[in-house]
Symmetry: C3
Subunit: 341 residues, 3 copies
């Protein structure tokens, strides 16, 4: 593929030599002369003078004067890189059929365009749509439904009655539909299990990372709406609902019955208490803890959270809190003396 | 099942129409006229006027005057709901025997009432009690013992010499008996592995969530005592002991050799350092970190923790810390001026 | 084995009866007369008077006068214990070959000294070195390479093109090479997946705990250098590099493209933001969050981190912040009154 063809595909402009042949993608630090790379994070701008890449995708606001390089100039270098990478690495799904080492219940309805690999278990009453790939050691419980064009990576457990849409990706080791953590306390102080008889619903274009846990509802459904992306080791408790196109970053936990809006970002290791609502377009910064409903879009930080801007001032002051404490004691003494005068 | 029969089972009183037929359970928001639901969290009281449920379980302190509905009035609505749900959804264990797709060592002793599903591995010297269900992709290492009436969900790993009691539930992807994280530093700064030659003991009625990790002891045993419930993605290090009937909520971590008492609650994403003792009836709130032994029951918060009540005041002040810092500087200036007078 | 033989092996000195027979290792609290134990943590010194151990390994600085016991006195008791435990529990690798219940692609090259257990999947183009043990339900994707003397525990997923050195241990449920969490935002606000086409490289003598997730690079490689040890439930994002001999404790998360130095310690539940550098010999204490590059060795704490010593003073003051806030308001009032005089 030539640079000029890539620019055409991206509907973008070339400066430099459009005839350069590109046959791979690489980072700006490690690219070779036949690689395409991109620059979107300013931190990496220093590599523009040293990169050996055949061509660099840059945004319109990048100053490329003074570099003897070939560039493709686009509105959004990262988005364009995503598009060209998808085109270059379009998944080849040429293996189809059901491995004779899989254990598929005869009542399951599986489209013949699917690939069911070795050591997969599909229980009774399941339905799997077109072109879906199920990798080894995946368990699909009774009466679950999986849509078209999904990829389920190894050792994923999908418990009974889960409903999974189309174009869903679930990474290895993730558990969908485990029992919610619900107990009532008996008269003698023992924890009595509440049977968890609901299910999990995952809508289209959701991607779920590795070793994530999404509990089934006690009653009704735990719901992840379309286009939401969930990173590794996230915990989603029973009866949670997450709106469309939200981003849940690694090791975040969401407690039971909480409703998260659309386009929300929960940064890494954040936590949300139970029975709350988080409005659309809210951002919770890393390691923060939410213990009350948030009705206003914006960024929030802290344990518990408050406005991010205020938190920046509080946390800056916190690093001087030892001195501040000492100073307050001194001021107190000085006032005592002033009062004596 | 009629409302009056449910009330009889729960030894509780009906107000309204005891003849209504109930054939399912649902949440108060989504119940249909043939569903039983319950009200225990005050936040949901507003739904009493709109729910379509055939009958609502309520506590004695709920004001139900003015609602044209059928109620069952009990001491503890949530506990009664747990009891009736357990009765309605009593697990059917009608499949028994060992799948011919499992790999079970001939020296293993497995009661004939068990169900060992496809692709289970049971190594030499294992013993499994009555009515226990082992789901696909479970690994049970040499000389492990599992009691009666347990359910082990898919892809659970139980390493060698684990001892698991009766009525234990282990959810998918959990690892029991992985090596503890123990290294000595060699003369040249390399980490030398300490062989982890102890085991894990899990007593009766323990429930363990999905993708949990419980490390085997370096020596002796890591012990989880009876009735304790552990949520998803919890980390329990080597040589930890957890007392009876404790609650460990999702993504909590407990470091090596720490001893947790009875009826302790460790809320979500909390962490406990190693070699500590936590007394009975302690509550650690979400996201808190414990770095010293706690001898007195009560609630503790913060990183590191102190009394929860004091923490509430500190964290409220923290949100105003930026202004407070500014004010202290101003006061200092003003005192300087006063001193000059 | 006699006490005197153990002392000889450790090149250390005995005080007491060198003829005592030792046939096991145990903790100082639970040891029997035929057990060897050790004392390295001062907290356990009180057990010296009560332990029944046949012999106790102690450091040169331990005061053993007044105890009628047999001791081996060494430079570093913990390190000596590691050495003797390794000698006593040297793994027996007497089972070799490929189970006929495994599914190994015929193009894979596996040394005949390996043991590939039941229900393992090895895809095309893989190479596995000498004496490596692969346990049940492990998935090894296309063209992956694993070195000599590795142990891969059950239900580990190793995605395509991973490169794993020698003497590597990977505990159960861990995922190596899952897709990094990378999306560009489209013109209409949808998240567009960036194909993750790099891989993971794990060097010699790395140990990785249970249910860890290590994402493949978007481009290039995510790299874990030799001798580094990673505890359970750790998240390592795409394009991260971790230097030699570092220690990453449970439930820590490292965000994308961050470079961690050598001999770094990241304590439990800590988090590092993306695109940062952490210098050699840095210690991040438990639950801390790093949001900027650290160039100077030393210990850091807090969210966000600053010098650990300063943090100790700040967090001590934090526990009195409620009172401090009240006092500042009082001082303000008193100054107002003084000004009126």
């Amino acid at each position: 593929m030539k640079v000029k063809d890539i620019a055409l595909y991206l509907n973008s402009e070339v400066t430099g030599d459009g005839e350069i042949e590109i046959n791979g993608l690489s980072s700006i630090e490690k690219a070779s002369p036949s690689d395409l790379t991109f620059l979107s994070n300013k931190k990496y701008e220093k590599f523009l003078s040293t990169t050996e890449a055949g061509c660099v995708l840059v945004g319109k606001d990048t100053d490329i004067s003074g570099y003897d390089k070939t560039f493709i100039i686009c509105n959004d270098a990262y988005l364009c890189f995503a598009k060209i990478a998808q085109a270059m690495y379009a998944a080849k799904k040429d293996i189809r059929g059901i491995s004779d080492k899989a254990s598929v219940d005869e009542s399951a309805v599986i489209d013949k365009s699917c690939f069911i690999d070795d050591f997969v278990v599909v229980k009774s009453g399941c339905k799997i749509g077109k072109n879906t790939v199920i990798m080894p050691f995946v368990y699909i419980g009774e009466n679950s439904v999986i849509g078209d064009d999904c990829v389920i990576y190894p050792s994923v457990t999908i418990r009974e009655r889960s409903i999974i849409g189309s174009n869903v990706i679930i990474h290895a080791g993730t558990v969908i539909g485990s029992d919610g953590f619900g107990y009532a306390k008996s008269e003698n102080g023992k924890h009595i299990k509440i049977p968890q008889v609901g299910n999990v619903v995952i809508e289209d274009r959701v991607e779920i990372g590795a070793n994530v846990t999404i509990d089934r509802a006690a009653l009704d459904s735990t719901i992840i709406k379309s286009g939401t992306k969930i990173d590794n080791l996230v915990q989603i408790a029973h009866n949670v609902e997450i709106g469309d196109d939200s981003i849940i970053i690694a090791q975040t936990g969401i407690s039971g019955s909480t409703k998260i809006g659309k386009n929300v970002i929960l940064a890494g290791q954040s936590g949300i208490a139970g029975h709350l609502k988080i409005a659309d377009n809210v951002i919770i910064t890393a390691k923060s803890g939410v213990n009350s409903t948030i009705r206003k879009p914006g960024a929030y930080s802290g344990i518990p959270v408050f406005e991010h801007r205020k938190w920046l001032r509080s946390s800056a002051a916190f690093s001087r809190l030892g001195d501040m404490y000492k100073k307050v004691l001194e001021l107190e003494r000085e006032i005592e003396e002033l009062k004596k005068r």
